[in-house]
């Protein structure tokens, strides 16, 4: 197993503490968003940011277990999509069972768009993870996005009774000719 791959379960979880990792290119607004997350969080949260994966091995011992990963993509810069695609190769497959998501920013500026929406949709289908569209321009939007992420993080860290990320994934309709099951 490649040492540089980020694993979800190779460390003991922190007590009552959730950790979320924000991955995105420089200048996308990770630190401000991180502050927003912490401000609006109702549980103990640690936010870590990275421009690209794999994370440096040297600080691996002091790093807690990463419960949730957010990949931030800026729709006006093709670079951000490239860095995210590169980073995706270093993530263990178990993260894609509801413990990661993509965030596409600046969707409301279609004139400056450099990435096709179809590429994002393709990415989402390929990794079976949701894409949340939003922006950090107004306070309200940031807070709304933060609350959505926080709900997912809480479940991924196991802080909600009887709910696991897979449980949420089961609401998704998969396949085309599936017989209805109860």
């Amino acid at each position: 197993m490649n040492d540089s791959v980020l694993m979800p379960y190779n460390k003991i979880p922190q007590y009552q503490l959730a950790t979320v990792l924000l991955v995105g290119s420089e200048g996308i607004g990770k630190h401000d968003f991180g502050k927003c997350l912490i401000k609006n969080s109702w549980f103990y949260l640690q936010v870590r940011t990275a421009i690209t994966l794999p994370l440096p091995l040297t600080s691996d011992k002091s790093r807690p277990r990463i419960d949730y990963i957010c990949f931030l993509i800026d729709l006006t810069s093709r670079d951000s999509l490239k860095t995210v695609e590169e980073s995706l190769k270093h993530v263990d497959v178990r993260y894609f069972l509801g413990q990661c998501c993509f965030i596409a920013l600046k969707v409301k500026n279609p004139e400056k768009r450099a990435i096709f929406i179809e590429q994002i949709v393709q990415l989402s289908k390929q990794y079976k993870s949701d894409v949340l569209y939003g922006s950090f321009e107004t306070e309200e939007e940031s807070i709304f996005l933060a609350e959505q992420i926080l709900k997912s993080v809480e479940i991924a860290a196991g802080m909600q009774k009887n709910v696991t990320p897979m449980f949420l994934e089961s609401t998704r309709f998969v396949g085309t000719e599936e017989e209805g099951e109860k």
Partner: protein, 705 residues
Amino acid sequence: MPTLDKDKGIADAVEYFVKEEKMKRRGNVQLSEALETLERVSKSLGISADNIIALCEVAASGRHGDDISCKLIRCLIPAKEFPDRAVMVSISYICSNIPSSKIQAMLLRLLIAVYDYIDKKETLQKLGYLLFCFIENSILTPYICHLLYLLTRKEDVRLFRVRKLLDLQTKLGPQSYLIGLLSIYKLYFPNLVSIVIPSTKKHFFPTRDRQWCSIIREVQEGNQNIETSHLKLSLELSEKLRAAETTMLQGIPPAKRRKMEPIPVVHSSRSNLTVKMSSRLIAMLEEKPIPFVQIPDIDTLLRNPDKVELPSQMGAALRSPLLQCFMSYSADPLMTCRFSYWLQDTLCDELLDSTVTPSCFPRIESILEKLIQFTEFIQEGIPAVDQILFRYLQVWNGMDFRQHMFRLITRCRLYPFSLLNENVLDPLRKLYVRTSVFIKCQITMCLTQLLRNYVVVEIHRYNQKYPDSKPSVSIFEDDIGPFEPLSTVQGLIQFVDRLNCAGLTLENNHNLLLHFTLTFSEMVSTLYTRYDLPCVYLPSRHIIRAFLTDNAMGPARLCGIINRYKENCQKLKNDLKGTESEAVRLRLKETVHSLNIVIMDLCDTLWRRKAFTHGRTDSYFNFDSTLLDGGSNDGLSLYLHQAFLPFSLLFLKETQPKEHIGHPRGIQEVRDTFMEFLQRENISEVKEFITNTITRYRLSTTTVT
């Protein structure tokens, strides 16, 4: 006396100008006197029609040179009306190119300034477009554009003219007057003009002759005041009131707002926008179609339904309730096509293709609001809107226009389930699992309404279309092709079921969410009895959570739901005798089996006090006997259930003497009375359920519910 003097003065002056062949420009006392008289009179009283014609002839010919001609033209302020003939004279002279450009420009400015006071505009209409040939003369271009802006009718918009204007634009740059004229062309034929017109119309034609116009207005008003009696005033007032009524019916907003809104006003090419609507006019127009702008109220509409000419911009239907009535009456495919095209273009432009900032929100919200009102009025969703919705929901951030989005989704048409899921249901699911309980409730309610719409309206619409293809009753046609509508409905029900299951777990049986979930289940439980849909879809096992809450709503409504499912199944079973295939009957049998499990569970817990000792392995309450306390069997019974305990205590308080209230367990003997008591407290579902299922009651003929 002074008037006579003035008249004489005027007559002399006019005669002087007309008769003189060559004038000395300098030191000509007569000239300056005549000019002075003219100016004085024109500014105070205005000039009579005949004099205007004479002077116009003189000035336009340019006989006496540029300066004098210009001064003369400036004096041509009409006393009452600007005569037709003068218009003809001026345009003819302009077209003959005899006068210099300066005089031509001056004449055009005159025509623009007195435009409102020309009595019969037919001459101007007929001759006006001859001026188009001179549009390249750079001195004249702004004035020609302005005049043509006022004159253009639908027939005048021609491709070569559009091309010429666009060429000029590339040469001169985007001048405001060119854009002004192009905006009128775009209003009539949006397909010919593809440039973007800015929405502010204020600065198309800056008033260059403000002083002149104000003088003209003053003179006119002064003259009117002299002649007017209060009769004329009241006539004007009544005309103004009728104008206001018309505009209200057409939904035209006050003039200032009109410029910023993208929804067009009802506008017709061949309409005369004055308010002189007399019966004579109606009679005259009987042969030709009536432009929609001239229809002031619904009575006129009803009298001439086949003679109405639609406005040039169908989008105006969103603003005018009268036009909406007309649209729903005559489902003309051309009209709906135009409307759909405009709607799709506008919505795409506003929502998807342009930068959306919070300042655009009020405008977009007003369009969506009007659109929702329209769909509510015609009780139909519009396929073009569905397409836009699909695209927008993919990139929606879940926050903007949430209420409007939900309401538009409820009117979504029937599509094959995979399409519906990918485009509508998946974005909703994404939002559902990540947001607060209140948004979950809104989503559940939206999906309940969608289901209701499907079973009440859309399935019938589909059945009418295929396979017989009878003429349909819907206004907007869609072109999806044949598919299985029942499978979409089934898919939708299962999807919402899964969402509800997840939601109740996430929110720990929140009461509000439970209410909406139960409403959805109540709707699904009556699909056959109320909506004639030949299928029964039981909810998944999460429904038993409703039974275990401490809110009486939960168990009571669950009993009601199961009761209705029972009725549904019974009726379906009776009606299906022998006609259906083996698969359908097998499915029904399985459904009945599952339903029986639930019924048995409910009866055992509520009534028979055998909650955990019933010995059925497929029950919802299947626990190992070693785990249970001996006396727990009636823990979920009707009088000891945590939801009904308050009612038990109330019952005891009412029926027992104060000294020995007793224990709720004592209610066991008087269960019937307790059920009546619950019914009194508005929890009648329990009684209905028990009387329907417990054999003793069902077979008893004396029990009357």
